[in-house]
């Protein structure tokens, strides 16, 4: 028997009719038709279950505020020391209601320790984020009322709630168009916007060190998948490492730069129990070649070579 018509398979998948004897025989023996029917049945079953999913409620705005706060904090990690110093100075001169403590508190938790970061009140963040210029510029250009960048609609003021109404979502393509307008506006504002969103308006006396390259670190090999991290090469010639959920090891963690083409490597330091470390890089390091950041589990065995037990790895890009 010939293959079943695709239309017929769709019919069967939707349960509109049963396969006749000839079709059943063919489906039992033809992998092509059988697989297709199985997949279509799955899709039909999922389709039935999508009822109501097109009209899910919007997430509460405080989730967005939390995202913005956490990302700002993560981006601020390299300047932590400076931020502390700056904070000390500000504490001495300004009223206690400054928004900075929340930022610094989150910065110490780093980008990936979400449990800690998210439980912190994000309420002090909007004031700081609100100063970002791109948010305001974008809000003005976007009829939908949804702000761009890390300045959420909440920052624009209470009426933001109207912008999150179902009506806006139902507006469908007009919203796509609005997004397009936003995109143009954003492109026009470009780099300035990004910088100003990430930092408060005040010219920082000591600007955030530029990140030359960065690498998300993911669990390697048999390491539990919850282990993760980030590496950033700072202009200051240091590698900022942030790790989370590293498995406990009997020895210690060591950080390596690896050349993936020939697997040559050298150690740039060790990690203590902290989730963050700043490691000096050799001034002449060739990060284009030695582009892989590796965190290994090492034993106290007087062997300075890599143990072969890599926990995290990531490739620097920048």
């Amino acid at each position: 028997m010939q293959h079943l018509e695709h239309e017929r398979l769709v019919f069967l998948a939707l349960g509109e009719s049963d396969a006749d004897d000839g079709e059943s025989t063919h489906l039992d023996t033809c992998a092509h038709c059988g697989t297709e029917l199985t997949a279509l049945r799955q899709v039909a079953g999922l389709g039935v279950e999508t009822q109501g999913l097109g009209d899910l409620p919007d997430p509460p705005e405080h989730i967005w505020q939390g995202i913005a706060a956490e990302i700002r904090a993560a981006e601020a990690v390299p300047s932590l020391t400076e931020a502390r110093r700056q904070q000390a100075a500000e504490d001495a001169t300004t009223e206690p209601a400054t928004t900075e403590p929340a930022t610094i508190g989150q910065a110490t938790t780093g980008p990936a320790t979400t449990e800690q970061a998210t439980t912190e009140p994000a309420t002090t963040e909007p004031a700081t984020i609100g100063k970002a210029t791109i948010g305001k510029a974008t809000i003005g250009q976007r009829p939908g009322g949804s702000a761009g960048g890390l300045s959420g609609p909440g920052v624009a003021g209470g009426p933001g709630a109207g912008g999150r109404s179902r009506a806006r979502r139902r507006a469908g393509w007009s919203r796509w168009a609005a997004s397009a307008v936003t995109a143009v506006a954003a492109a026009a504002i470009g780099v300035v916007g990004t910088v100003s969103v990430l930092r408060p308006d005040e010219p920082a006396p000591t600007p955030t060190p530029a990140v030359l390259a960065s690498a998300p670190l993911a669990a390697f090999g048999s390491t539990p998948k919850s282990a993760q991290g980030d590496a950033r090469v700072l202009q200051s010639g240091q590698l900022h490492l942030h790790v989370a959920n590293l498995p406990r090891v009997p020895g210690y963690y060591e950080v390596w730069l690896i050349n993936p083409t020939n697997m040559e490597m050298f150690s740039i330091g060790t990690l203590g129990g902290d989730s963050d470390a700043l490691l000096p890089l050799p001034p002449n390091v060739d990060l284009k070649s030695y582009s892989v950041v590796d965190v290994s589990a090492e034993q106290y065995d007087n062997n300075t070579r890599h143990s072969g037990d890599s926990l995290l790895r990531g490739t620097l890009t920048g």
Binding site: L53, P59, T114, L150, T317
Partner: protein, 200 residues
């Protein structure tokens, strides 16, 4: 046609590349578009609403910080986000289970029955819902009649006044699109061979 007017060809959607390139406006847009799907995934799996909101937040933060690992060629942005969300949900469930076990060892209480749905199934559902929303109006409307109202092709033709042959063609094309999308972005085994890749 009672459905809202919808252009057959959407404007070029550059959200994914803009997100990947670090445009923060794109992050907000991604949240506006897909935040509710991620939150739905989390609330479907986690009993505690605060946990679900935490996971949603953590998903977008991880996605943003790991945006370099997002490859638009391998799947959609929402599929990638749901993949991250799915892992975070599972992590949270395991952590909760650990805590529960500790508490219950102390209290000598029986383990509670595990009633949460399969996260892969929830992800697949959201992916299919997203694709359904992207289909041309005619295809979507007829599939909705078939899925939600359990109408046959013939009944759909009667209800809509569209000739049966056209109904068949719309439904067949719609189903083919859903299946294609499911194979690219779905989480369940069978949706695709490889698991999710990308940032945590």
């Amino acid at each position: 046609m009672t459905a809202l007017p919808q252009q057959p060809d959407p404007p070029v959607d550059d959200l994914a590349p803009r997100f990947r390139s670090g445009d923060e406006v794109a992050l907000r847009e991604a949240y506006d578009r897909y935040g509710r799907a991620v939150l739905h995934l989390a609330t479907s799996m986690l009993a505690n609403r605060a946990d679900a909101e935490d996971v949603t937040q953590a998903t977008f933060v991880a996605a943003w910080l790991g945006r370099d690992t997002f490859d638009p060629a391998k799947g959609s942005l929402i599929g990638w986000l749901l993949g991250i969300g799915r892992r975070k949900v599972i992590d949270r469930m395991r952590a909760t289970a650990r805590e529960t076990r500790v508490v219950e060892t102390v209290r000598q209480l029986p383990e509670p029955a595990q009633t949460a749905p399969d996260p892969d199934r929830v992800v697949d559902r959201l992916v299919i819902a997203d694709e359904l929303a992207r289909l041309p109006d005619d295809q979507r409307r007829m599939l909705e009649l078939a899925f939600y109202d359990d109408l046959t092709h013939q009944q759909i033709a009667t209800v809509t006044g569209v000739p049966l042959g056209t109904v068949k063609s719309h439904i067949r094309r719609g189903m083919a699109s859903l299946k294609r999308r499911w194979e690219v972005d779905g989480a369940a085994p069978g949706a695709r061979a490889a698991g999710f890749s990308g940032a945590r």
